[in-house]
């Protein structure tokens, strides 16, 4: 009898849903994957360094070739500096909570600096700015891993920039 009643209630509610669709509610504001990693931001920062270096070292003997190469290198530099901003913003906005800010009072300033440096890397052919950007992103990665309760460690990136990547033990 109870089973029949529940079945009937479900049928009635199902019918009501069709004539007056229910409003959507969200248990999370974004997809609750809980998966965050500052690795991509660091790889993008390394790429921005490499593109900047290649632009500095560009052989301009052949104008046509050089123009073509400038466009390609600049495009990749732009994209990866933007990727740094995107990845850092996601972790800053979605992962870090007030309790983390309390333990890392300089976090907001650090993110602000990363945004500004990434813009500078886009605007200029500036190796110092590109290296500084990576350094700040590494600092950000260290704060992130500590917030996750993991001890950060620097390892060789193995990439052509010969720099490091912050991972964890």
């Amino acid at each position: 009898m109870i089973k029949v009643s529940l079945f009937m209630i479900k049928k009635i509610l199902g019918f009501l849903d069709k004539i007056a669709p229910p409003q959507k509610v969200y248990a999370h504001c974004d997809i609750p994957c809980g998966i965050y990693d500052p690795h991509q931001a660091q790889v993008a920062a390394h790429t921005a360094i490499r593109m900047t270096k290649m632009l500095v070292d560009l052989d301009e003997k052949d104008d046509k070739k050089a123009d073509h190469q400038i466009v390609r290198l600049t495009k990749v530099k732009e994209e990866h500096a933007e990727l740094v901003k995107h990845e850092v913003r996601i972790i800053w906005g979605d992962f870090f909570k007030q309790e983390h800010i309390g333990k890392n009072p300089g976090l907001h300033d650090l993110v602000f600096n990363i945004m500004k440096l990434a813009s500078k890397v886009k605007q200029e052919i500036n190796e110092d700015a590109a290296n500084e950007l990576l350094s700040k992103v590494q600092e950000f990665a260290e704060i992130f891993w500590r917030a996750k309760g993991l001890e950060p460690m620097r390892i060789k990136s193995g990439s052509s920039t010969e720099g490091e990547i912050v991972s964890h033990k």
């Binding site: 479900k10 849903d17 509610v25 999370h28 504001c29 609750p32 809980g34 007030q98």
Partner: protein, 85 residues
Amino acid sequence: MEPLFKEGDRIVINRWAYIFSKPTPGDFVTFEHPNKKGKVLLKKIKKVVGDESLVTGINENDSEDSRRFGKIKGDKILGKVWFKY
């Protein structure tokens, strides 16, 4: 909010639940996101302070809740979850 609420679940809320009573810790409530107009959230009341409720998700490590957007005033609560189907 999994495993209690899964994507696609339908819930019925009681919009009059707090006319004669007050929100209580443990209640599941819906309310409009304080910073995103038109987005309705489903959260669990963790603590009630005066007229305001501190809400969290079940999976606190992955939830965006009162720790980020602050407490929810009583008149902002749209209703209490009655049942899901």
